[in-house]
Each structure stands twice: as C-alpha cells, then as structure tokens.
C-alpha cells in the first residue's frame, strides 16, 4: 500500500513499489493529463509538481515519494484553467497536437513560481521539454505573457 497526496487529496493505491509515479498517476489514480512520452526523463511530457518543483514522473519510483509530499498534476494546477500559464496558453493558441503541453505547462508554472520574471535566456535554458509539432516560440511567448500578467498580440 502506498499513500500519496495528489491534487490535495490523499490516495491509497496497491502497486509494486518500483512502479514509476507516472504510471501510478495514470493507471491507479486515473489522471491521464500527465503523459508518457519516453520513460527516461528526456521529453518532459510526464512533468508534475512535487512540493512545487517540476519533476519528471516517468523516472521516479512511487516508493520514493512520501505521503507528506504534495503532488500536483495538470488537473490540479488550477480551477477552470485559471493559472496564468494556462490563460496565456489559451490566449496565444499555443498547443498544436497538445500531447506535450501538460508537461510544458507544468514545467513553465514551476519555473515562474521559482523565478517570476525569467529572462528569455533563462526560459530557453530551463524549459527542456520536447515538442515535435514545434510550438517552442509560442511556449516562450506564453511564459513571457504569463510572467507579465498582461495582454499581448498573437503570433
């Protein structure tokens, strides 16, 4: 039995202790917004927050997370997609296929929590998630828009 605090509620799951947190979130808890993309912490599609920090959950055994640590997934980031990053994403139409975007958004939200006004160079260095559709320039603009908390034009 593993106890996890996910999006503010305590969950108990029966699972092998070496199961990656990603698959526990997806299969035992049933939150599928967190995606599988590579399984080796390369692509970032599985990014969640643990105590506010961005973590690639595909490479973290569930046994290494304690019941006290607060896990937040894309579903728990905000009510009604109201987080500034999500609002900026919607305003700029950032997603294309969208598969990597929950991970992008979680990584971006964690960056802004830690560094509310990152420079362009800092954003480029910190956001290492892979997007194959190629949304990077709108991701960059989205983070900058969210950091400003203001409005900006498209594209």
């Amino acid at each position: 039995m593993v106890r996890l605090n996910v999006n503010g509620s305590v969950r108990e799951v029966e699972v092998e202790p070496d199961t990656p947190l990603l698959w526990v979130i997806r299969e035992q808890i049933g939150l599928t917004g967190t995606k599988y993309g590579c399984g080796i912490a390369q692509c970032g599609s599985c990014t969640v927050h643990i105590d506010g920090a961005a973590v690639r959950s595909c490479s973290m055994p569930v046994s290494s997370v304690t019941a006290e640590q607060k896990i937040v997934t894309i579903e728990g980031l905000s009510a009604g997609a109201s987080h500034p990053v999500q609002k900026a994403w919607a305003q700029l139409d950032v997603p294309q296929c969208g598969f990597c975007q929950p991970g992008m958004i979680m990584a971006s939200a964690a960056l802004l929590a830690q560094n509310p006004r990152p420079s362009e160079a800092e954003i480029r260095a910190e956001i290492t998630n892979i997007c194959r559709c190629g949304t990077y320039n709108r991701v960059l603009a989205g983070i900058q828009l969210a950091a400003e908390g203001g409005e900006s034009g498209r594209g």
């Binding site: 092998e16 199961t19 990656p20 698959w23 997806r26 299969e27 035992q28 049933g30 939150l31 599928t32 917004g33 967190t34 995606k35 599988y36 993309g37 590579c38 399984g39 080796i40 390369q42 692509c43 599609s45 997934t73 894309i74 579903e75 980031l77 009604g80 997609a81 999500q86 994403w89 919607a90 139409d93 950032v94 997603p95 294309q96 296929c97 969208g98 598969f99 990597c100 975007q101 929950p102 958004i105 954003i123 480029r124 260095a125 956001i127 290492t128 998630n129 892979i130 997007c131 194959r132 559709c133 190629g134 949304t135 990077y136 320039n137 709108r138 991701v139 960059l140 498209r154 594209g155």
Partner: protein, 731 residues
C-alpha cells in the same frame, strides 16, 4: 507574422450538388469496398441533421462534422471555418464531431475522403464542405420563410439569426432546425466570394485549445472503458525476422499478467491489468528471435547499395528537357557534388497505440489514425470480419507526421491481440523504444548533382541522379506508374500544381535509380520534398559560388517563367535585406521550393563560433498557399516546420547495425528543443485563386537555407545529413 493584402479573389462559382461522394478516393492506397447506402441518420447525436455536415441543436449549438483527422495541424478548426462561413452561423456556437468511417461507408462515402496526409485536408475538401454549409443555410432560411409564409428571398441571415426584412420578424437556426431537416436539399448553391468572408480567412482561435491546456483532452493512449486490459508488445528487432520461441510460463505469475500471446509471425505481447505491469512482464519474458535474412545488414551496406545506383545505367526519368549529356560535354565548367539523406523516425510525442474490442460478430477500434477509412480496412483485414461488421472511432492524435496514415501496422497488431481475448477491450501501447525501432522511416536517398556552366557562368545543364528508396514500392505499390515512384520527384516535376521545379534550365535530367533496403519507409512530414530541396537548393548555392555570382541573383535569372516561386523568394530576400551586410558574425543562406500546392521560401541567419558550435538565430519564411484560411494557424505551421525540418537537418539520423535501428529513445535520437529554436518571422501571402497545403511545404526549405548559411559562415558544404556529424570549425 505579416499578411500581405490579397491581390485577387476567386469569383463566385455555381456548383451543382450531387457529386459530393465522388470527391477524394486517392487516399494512401487503400480501397474500402463500398456498401449500399443505409438510411440517412445522424452520426452521433439524436438531433436530426440538416445535412451530412451540419447538426443544429435546440440550444443553438452548431455541430460541424469533420472527416479529416486533427493531429495538431489545425485542420479541424480550418474545415469548421469553411462550413461555418457558408452556413452564416455564430462561430462562438460551433463544435465539431467525427463521423466514423463505418458510417461513411454505410452512407456511400457522403463525407468523402478521410485520409489526412500530403497537406490535403483542406485543399482537397474545401469545395464540398463549403457546399455542405451553404446547402444547410439555404434549408434553414427556407424553413423559417415557410413558417412565416413569405418567400425565402425576402429573408436574410447573420450569425444564425434569420430575419424577414419587411416585417422585422426574426428566428434562430436552433428554432427552425427540426423543420429544415425535413426539407429537400437545394439542387445547386452559390458559394460566397472570398472577399466577403468573415470567418474563413480570419485568424480565429482553434476550437481544440482548452482541453489541451487543462489536461482533459483524451488521446488514444488515455482511453479507458469497463473491463479494459493493457498490452505491451515487442516485434522482432530486425525487419524480416520472426519469433523462434518464448517462455510464457516465466512471466505468467507476475503481478497483473493475464495472458502472453504471439502476434503474427514476428511479435509477442503481454496482456495485463495495467500497462506498466504488462511492460514489466514483457521485459522479463525470455524471447528467442529468428532474425532472418537481414540480420547482418549495416548502414555501410545500405550506403554502398545506394552509391552503386548513382552510376547505374538504368533509371526512371522524372523530368527531362533538352540534352544534358551534350550540355555537360560542351560546358566551360562542370560542377559536381554528391549529397545524402538518412533514415529518420517520425517520433510522434504520443507513441503508437490502439484500443480494440473483438468478438466473432463485431470488431471496434479506437485509434489515433490519419486515415479513418484506411484504419477501417486494416481492422477488417486483421479481424477476419467484413468491413460492415467493423468500425473505427478516431481519436485526436498526439502527433502524426505521416506515421499514422499509411500502414496501420500498429492497429493490426492490436486487433490480433484482441482476437486472443474475445469481448475484452485491449489497449496496446508501444514503448518509446518500440516506436523508435519499428518506425516507417523517412526514405534514405543519395543524390549526385552534375551541372554545366558556360563561359559567363550561366547554368546550361543539370543532371540530378537520385539513388535510393521508394516509399510507394513498400507502402502503396498500386500507385506506382510503370514501375516508377512519382513521389520521389516531389518538387522537381516539370509542371503541375502539386510540386513543380521553380527554375527553367535549358538541359535538364532528373532521374531515379530505385534501391530499396530492408528498413521500411513511410510518408514522413514533407516526404521527398525534404531531401530534394537540400539537393537542389544547396547545389544551386554551390553553382552560384562556382560562377562567382550572388545566390539570389543566380536563382532569379532562372525563375522568369515561375512568378509564384520567384515572389516568395523575393519576399524573404526583401524582408531580411538580402545584399545588406548582416550583423557581425551572422551569415545568411536562402532556399525556395514548391510542394503540396504551395510556394515557400526562407532565409536563415546563423553563426558558427570558433569551436564549431552552430546557432540558428533567425528565420524569415514566406508561404503562398493561395487562399489563407487561418493566418495565425499558418504562422504556427510555418514556425513548427522549422522545428521538424531543423531537427531533421541538424540531428536526425537512424543508423542500422546488425539489421536493426540503433537509436532507441530521445537520448540517442536527439530533436530540437527550445534552446536551439530560432526566431521565425513568417510572411503569409494570400494570393488567392488556388488552395495550397500548409502543414508540410515549409519543412523543405528549413534545411537548405540553414546549410547554405553554414557555408557562408564556414566555407564548408555539409552534403550529408545530419549536420551534427560534421566538424564546423573553420578549416
């Protein structure tokens, strides 16, 4: 992004309804047997449809049916814009749904072609979807007019509100939809003049964004349903090999495991309650492969096979004019270079997956497919049931890029697994590793370029010999022409709206020596345009250099008969200030190409430091796609094309050792990330009068523009992709 003013608009045209179902059908080589039309019925709603394309609910929600697949390229929104424009509905009330391919077959293919590849989603269905919207509008207005007892001609409609001008009475689409559904469809309709568009041609927001930012979007990999089990699969790592043996007993007692099954001749799958448990057991399963006849093939063998084709006597001719042999033998100067392009994996972010439930009476699949009808054909074949007993529920794709349209190899596997457990829905997911080593790869080619220059440095002859793989020979042999694969010549054709060369060269020969290694090819976003643009556009740069001429001026002299090619090239040159000196350390390169019905060009600005580190700073790119349906989404496709195209140019390479692909994940198959992403300034030129594709064309110019800029920076010609294998330090 800048959008230039339209120079012209297509005039209104009258269309006769009745030929709707005849559209399309080329597909990707699939033919689903037609069934007799069933009684007309709504696809997925209980509200009666106005026609096949439009359902309007009492609450004014407008449901627009979409036949093509959304995989990020924006076709869902674009096609809805076209229907909504002619429908004159309230755009804020629009939602969409996919009719299943089974319903399409049952209704005589009323929704036309489902295949979504070759950037054809909008450019090949714009006419009949607009007619669908217009016909629905006419019926809705007629229903209102009948209710009022007035002629329909006295009524007007705006944003779904119908007004009788004389009496001032109004009603809404939702109120009259039930009556409209009972009317006879109009015989012919007049489409709007594009200059009057208010929804089409505008940078409206995508319809599918919100679920993609709050995590609620369900992809195929996320599906669940009562009783669902998960499967993990391993196919023989060497194509052409098979399963010799496996020891199911070794893993049958592992947590969650329900069954171990052989899948066809060459694969083994484990079915378990969760995917992670299925994968864990599969990793522990002892499997012995018979690796078959290709088990010793290496990249060097394949390169040698292609190199032989460069000099082969026999080759298929794709474009011929004048006598290139005479031109070469009488040239003042002959310039020659050999280029090469490797295997590359599509690497969609969502790995291949499918969910299938099979019983002896019926087989249903939930599949992220680019071609619903192709998927239905694959399900019917693999299930052993007729197509009328099968259906496919299309899922939004987590990337497609051509991998999910043509072969459906992954879907057949899922059906075969599901047949082993009748009645139980099975979700099969490929690991990233399985996805990397069992791709349908960008075809491998080499190309020898040989050109004749006269005393003044003018180009008098060009022989372009492509040697290498044919996609159609593997994927759709029925589309080959007398043994020739016309796709190989994309962008090099003498004429035509699809992919014509942009230069007039007095003596020209483009030919192809087909050499097909065992690694399976597939359509890969941009397809043969990608290597062909590198070969042609980098070599044009080499020729300009050999002739002592500016690369832009050298090209423009050959483009007098190709005004649209020339216009996009001139547009990027003007915007970047070609001919002015760039900032210190910055070097420029340019390229142009035409394909998928559109004209594209780019200038790249790069720097290469003393350590040989390349940085692409800025791209200026122009697209003339005729009618620009959604400029902000075209901008997104242009920017994204540089990620896909530069990932391919800079890093993309799948190598072969012992018959198998060596790269297994993103650590060994690097792709572009944000740190390497250049600024992209797009120029959309809505010249009107034709419909070109958008998702693919720009990829072709990404690589040659950057490669030409690298030469400008370093004096080095990178002729073998990817760039990462070349030391860029100045010699």
């Amino acid at each position: 992004m800048t959008t230039t003013t339209p120079r012209s608009s297509a005039p209104s045209r009258r269309f006769v309804l009745g030929g709707l179902a005849a559209a399309g059908g080329l597909g990707l080589g699939f033919h689903v047997p037609f069934l007799p039309p069933a009684a007309a019925q709504g696809a997925a709603t209980s509200t009666p449809e106005i026609n096949a394309w439009v359902v309007i609910k009492p609450d004014e929600t407008v449901v627009i049916r979409i036949a093509r697949s959304e995989m990020g390229q924006g076709t869902l929104t674009g096609l809805a814009q076209l229907v909504a424009e002619e429908l004159s509905c309230d755009w804020s009330k629009v939602t969409t749904e996919y009719p299943t391919p089974g319903q399409n077959v049952a209704r005589g293919r009323i929704w036309g072609d489902y295949s979504t590849g070759g950037s054809r989603g909008i450019r090949e269905s714009h006419e009949y979807v607009r007619k669908g919207g217009a016909a629905a509008r006419i019926m809705l207005v007629e229903a209102a007019a009948k209710g009022w007892g007035v002629p329909a001609g006295e009524c007007r409609v705006e944003k779904g509100v119908i007004t009788h001008s004389a009496s001032g009475r109004t009603t809404t689409y939702g109120a009259v939809a039930g009556d409209a559904a009972k009317l006879t469809p109009p015989k012919d309709v007049v489409l709007k003049d594009p200059k009057d568009w208010t929804i089409a041609g505008k940078p409206v927001a995508r319809l599918d964004t919100l679920p993609k930012v709050d995590g609620s979007q369900i992809y195929g990999i996320d599906l669940t349903m009562p009783g669902l089990l998960n499967a993990a699969i391993k196919d023989c790592p060497v194509t052409g090999g098979s399963v010799k043996s496996f020891d199911a007993k070794a893993v049958e007692g592992m947590p969650g495991v329900r069954k171990v099954v052989q899948v066809g001749d060459s694969a083994v799958a484990v079915v378990a309650d969760t995917f992670w448990r299925a994968k864990t057991a599969l990793d522990a399963l002892p499997i012995t492969w018979d690796e078959g006849p290709n088990a010793r093939v290496s990249s060097a063998d394949i390169a040698a096979m292609l190199a032989e084709g460069l000099d082969a006597k026999e080759a298929y001719v794709g474009n011929k004019g004048g006598d290139v042999a005479v031109a070469l033998s009488s040239a003042a100067k002959v310039v020659e270079a050999t280029y090469g392009f490797p295997f590359q994996n599509h690497a969609t972010m969502e790995p291949m997956n499918a969910t299938v439930r099979w019983t002896p009476e019926r087989c249903e699949a939930w599949a992220p497919t680019q071609n619903g009808e192709g998927a239905l054909a694959a399900v019917a074949e693999a299930s052993g049931l007729s197509a009328s007993k099968c259906d496919v529920h299309k899922q939004l794709l987590g990337g497609g890029f051509g991998r999910r349209g043509a072969t459906h190899d992954w879907l057949r596997q899922a059906v075969m697994i599901a047949r082993e457990m009748p009645g139980t829905p099975i979700k099969m997911i490929w690991t990233r590793e399985e996805d990397m080593i069992h791709g349908r790869y960008h075809p491998v080619t080499q190309c020898r370029m040989r050109a004749a220059l006269d005393e003044k440095g003018e180009l008098t002859g060009l022989h372009m010999r492509i040697s290498g793989q044919s996609i159609l020979a593997s994927v759709a042999p029925n589309r080959m022409v007398d043994g020739k694969d016309p796709v190989v010549f994309q962008g090099l054709n003498p004429s035509g709206p699809e992919a014509a060369i942009g230069y007039t060269i007095p003596n020209l020969l483009v030919d192809h020596a087909m050499r097909n290694p065992h690694i399976l090819p597939g359509f890969w976003r941009g397809v043969n345009m990608n290597p062909n643009a590198i070969y042609l556009e980098c070599f044009m740069d080499e020729l300009a250099h050999a002739a002592g001429q500016d690369p832009l001026a050298f090209r423009l002299k050959l483009m007098g008969n190709h005004p649209k090619h020339r216009a996009v090239l001139q547009a990027v040159a003007d915007k970047v200030g070609w001919g002015t000196k760039p900032a210190d350390g910055i070097h420029r390169g340019l390229a142009q190409m035409m394909g998928f019905g559109s004209y594209v060009a780019a200038v790249a600005e790069v720097s290469v430091d003393g350590e040989g580190a390349l940085k692409v700073h800025r791209i200026v790119a122009a697209t003339d796609c005729g009618h620009a349906l959604n400029p902000q989404q075209i901008d997104a496709q242009i920017a994204g094309s540089f990620v896909y195209g530069l990932s391919a140019a800079l890093y993309g390479e799948c190598t072969v050792k012992d018959g198998r692909i060596e790269q297994t994940n993103f650590d060994s198959y690097p792709v572009m990330r944000m740190d390497a992403m250049p600024k992209v300034e797009s120029i959309v030129i809505p010249s009107g009068g034709f419909w070109g594709g958008v998702g693919e064309p720009t990829i072709a110019v990404a690589a040659p523009a950057v490669l030409n800029a690298i030469f400008s920076a370093t004096g080095k010609r990178v002729r073998q992709i990817p760039v990462k294998n070349t030391d860029l330090r100045r010699a």
